[in-house]
Amino acid sequence: MNIQDDASDLLSGTHESDHALVHASRGGDGAALDALLRRHYPRLFGLCRRMVGENDADDATQNALMAIVRGLPSFDGHSTFVTWSYRVATNACLDEIRRRAKRPVLKLADDDLYETTGSLRSQSDIDRVTDRIDLDAALATLTIDQRVAVILRDLCSLSYNEIAIVLDIAPGTVRSRIARGRGQLHDFLIGNSTTVDQRPSSKP
């Protein structure tokens, strides 16, 4: 399942349905709550999976779902349920990360793809790397702030403004974190933590 498609569907067509399920859930309708969690589980699991890594993904997801259930009475509907639930889940994941204070183990699939200079040989090499490298390991090289921003953008397809709401930061900060995160991921892909060209790293 592509979480982008899933989230897109949710964003485009099921707000009212979400709203109805939220309303019913808040009224004590267990079936509605079950349906609500079931509907949004894949994207929330995807977020948690990439936030905390494979080993802790299930625990983080359950903590996120619990936080959502607990928070439903305070959900005011000012944002979409999707955005709100991402916010709750993100905070749950951050709590999990802080609590466990660990990061996924780095592991590379094929060291032969790297040259001593850190440059990949070609775009086709990049494609090979992205097929074989551990994304968790790559994401683990980012700061938590960068990782969350990149995941919310690229995996969850949130806009910069939505990410700003989720993380309670300025849109400009979102933009910066995503750019730095992507740059760092690319550096990871080419096996070099330093930049390989002379382009400026900040606004001209």
């Binding site: 808040r26 709550l33 969690l37 397809s157 400026p200 001209p204």
Partner: protein, 317 residues
């Protein structure tokens, strides 16, 4: 001149169609049309973005079912989703209808909460007969409809059988259908005491006047008994196992929870007991004990009350 190149911020935002002004986008497009360095960088960032976007692991249906079931069960053990305004608070412990988890024979009740005020009015929802589910992966989910709130003073009360029980060795039980039906077991070849003299639960404060009142193995608790403080223990026909367990484990206090379950394909019963804090403990020990509550959970074969799994817990209050 390197400063003439576009920054990662601009390129990344361009990739996301998130540049804040049309003028920036226009300038960026014009630059990209003539700059292979920035075009290459844009493609690099696009590759990274697509890599993250398309690498989501497939949702595991079984894990989803487990997680949602555990969440719903856990949520049900806490408080209603509705505003708590009309919810009568009282001094109860929630011994979590929360997912009690059995993994490879280990059982855990992860969530407890306590309301602070005292109120012995029985207006909490009474427990319904619980049913439990042991799902693949060895996780036991106690039914969410089962209310496991326990009056603290009740949970800490010694088992009514404690004073009477002798210190007989807990040898291997020899069980058969006839003594199971009558609530008896045979230990080391001798007949054990009948469950007719073994109460199903410890006394509640409200029921303290008759702590040793017998509960027939097939009768379970009456509604009156439930309303007086035991909303969580349901009854027959599995009440027969309780006296057998008590024979083997002299530490057991109040029976706090009972439910049926399927344990790796075998019909089972889950029973959770408070462990008596009185066994050989000093007053200081008891003071310490009152800051936590020791529980022991058993998973028993419904057919013959064999112990399939057991584990103790220390529940902080």
């Amino acid at each position: 001149m390197t400063n003439n190149h576009l920054t990662d911020e601009i390129l990344s935002a361009l990739l996301d169609n998130e540049n804040s002004s049309d003028s920036v986008a226009h300038v960026s497009d014009a630059h990209l049309a003539n700059c292979t360095i920035c075009t290459t960088r844009l493609e690099e960032l696009r590759t990274v973005s697509e890599w993250v976007a398309t690498s989501l692991p497939t949702t595991n249906q079984q894990r989803m079912e487990q997680t949602i079931a555990a969440t719903l069960s856990h949520a049900a053990s806490e408080k209603p989703l509705k505003s708590g305004r009309n919810f009568v608070r009282r001094r109860w412990m929630a011994a979590g209808a929360a997912a009690a988890i059995i993994a490879a024979g280990a059982i855990a009740i992860p969530s407890l909460s306590r309301n602070e005020s005292r109120n012995n009015q029985a207006s909490l929802p009474l427990a319904t007969p619980g049913s439990s589910q042991i799902i693949n992966g060895g996780h036991l989910i106690l039914d969410a409809t089962t209310d496991l709130r326990i009056p603290i003073q009740t949970a800490l009360a010694p088992s009514p059988t404690d004073a009477k029980e002798q210190s007989g060795a807990a040898g291997n039980r020899q069980l058969n259908d006839s003594n199971l039906e009558s609530g008896k077991t045979t230990e080391s070849g001798s007949s054990a005491e009948s469950s007719d003299t073994t109460p199903t639960t410890a006394p509640s404060p409200a029921a303290a006047s008759s702590p040793n009142e017998a509960a027939p193995p097939s009768a379970g608790l009456s509604r009156d008994a439930s309303e007086s403080g035991f909303p969580f223990v349901t009854s027959e026909p599995h009440a027969r196992c309780e006296p057998l367990i008590r024979k083997d484990d002299k530490r057991l206090g109040a029976l706090l929870y009972r439910a049926s379950a399927d344990f790796v394909g075998e019909q089972a019963i889950v029973e959770v007991f408070a462990l008596s804090p009185h066994d050989g403990k000093s007053a200081a020990d008891e003071k310490v004990a009152k800051s936590s509550l020791d529980l022991r959970a058993y998973v028993l074969a419904a057919s013959d009350c064999r112990v399939l799994s057991a584990q103790s817990f220390d529940l902080k209050k």
